[in-house]
Amino acid sequence: MGDTLDRWADPSLLVLASLADEPKHGYAITQDVAQTMGVRLSAGTLYAVIARLEARGFIDPLPSDDRKRPYRITAAGAAELARQSERMSRVASLATERLQANLRWAAS
């Protein structure tokens, strides 16, 4: 599932993407990111990212009765995720288009 560019994947975007559908606590985020995106976020990385996203107003902590505090994405966080997704889509389209052209050139 993992790929060779794992360490270049931006953990902030992975966390925002994980929170896009519903609020999650730290462990649920790491499980979701590992299952859906194939990236294992360590505790140090995850909470460095959570602190950064919270400071920028991209996520909000929700009240919790136990030690596992859930987080939800804010409107600003959703807008930032949409902007980054759009950028990545353009990169993906461009890469696919050029790779196909390259394959056609190699086949001819």
Binding site: Y27, S42, A43, Y47, A51, E54, A55, D66, R67, K68
Partner: protein, 287 residues
């Protein structure tokens, strides 16, 4: 094994700033426990502690607390650095070491004098309003211990000067005091300087002052630290030059003592500069 890793997690979390720990430590501990206390988690926590100190998250940043902590640390290291500067002046300038043909020594003395005077003026004038605010509040609330702590910067130098005057009269000769007595007086001076610096720091921890006086003191602390670093650099140049060119200077024959002195100066200058820079940054931040 698991309890060892749990202890390792607590140790790794202890490396983080207090505000970070207060906000996230419980959650992190729960996560690491659910991950079966993996070594990778503990190692990543320890590794990520350094950026948490260097770039503390803005929403956890308690500016007045940052300024107070920087002022307390900076005052102690600045006092030590100033004490080293006075020892330097006593053993070089006041002994008349001015080797001919080496104008860099005289230039270093001049830079040292101006920078040290500027540093003392900035520290005194910038810290005075905060000191008066704290003294007034401690007096009004009948906090005797805090009043005593705040008066230490006046009492300690007075005690030192009185002790120095008596000692010189009792044991001094035509050439001053012996090297042993000079060492004892110097150590006593450093001890009293530490007490004079620690007093306001302790009072600040209990009184927790805020507002313009604190910001002014933190900003002035940055100026004082900058000037004292310049003075320290000038003393390093002068001591190095004297060790190379002045035959009458003790360091010319024995390089160990100047080496220790220079190492102490560099260490004190670094601590002073870093803590003052953090305090001044917190004081001048917008918002």
């Amino acid at each position: 094994m698991s309890s060892n890793m749990s202890r390792a997690t607590r140790l790794a979390l202890a490396l983080y700033p207090p505000s970070w720990r207060a906000r996230y430590a419980d959650e992190v501990h729960a996560l690491v426990e659910q991950n079966k206390n993996s070594r990778r988690d503990v190692a990543s926590l320890a590794w990520r502690a350094l950026p948490a100190w260097i770039w503390p998250p803005a929403h956890l940043h308690d500016r007045p607390a940052r300024m107070r902590a920087s002022l307390s640390t900076g005052l102690l290291s600045w006092s030590f650095l100033t004490g080293l500067g006075l020892v330097f002046a006593q053993l070089t300038q006041f002994q008349g070491f001015r080797p001919a043909g080496h104008p860099v020594i005289n230039a270093s003395y001049l830079v040292f004098d101006v920078a040290l005077a500027l540093s003392a003026a900035a520290a005194g004038l910038g810290g005075l309003p905060l000191w008066l605010v704290m003294l007034r509040r401690a007096h009004r609330e009948r906090r005797r211990r805090d009043v005593a702590c705040l008066l230490l910067p006046l009492a300690a130098p007075a005690a030192f000067l009185a002790g120095l005057s008596i000692t010189v009269r009792l044991v001094g000769g035509a050439d001053g005091v012996s090297p042993w007595w000079f060492g004892i007086i110097t150590l006593a001076g450093f001890g009293l300087a530490a007490a004079a610096a620690a007093g306001p720091g302790l009072a600040m921890r209990r009184l927790k002052p805020r507002g313009p006086a604190l910001r002014l003191a933190a900003t002035a602390g940055g100026v004082a630290a900058g000037a004292s670093v310049v003075a320290a650099a000038a003393s390093i140049v002068a001591v190095t030059g004297l060790s190379l060119w002045a035959r009458g200077f003790a360091g010319y024959h024995h390089h160990v003592v100047p080496g220790i002195y220079l190492a102490l100066v560099v260490l004190a200058a670094m601590v002073t500069a870093v803590s003052a820079a953090r305090g001044a940054r917190a004081a001048t931040q917008r918002g």
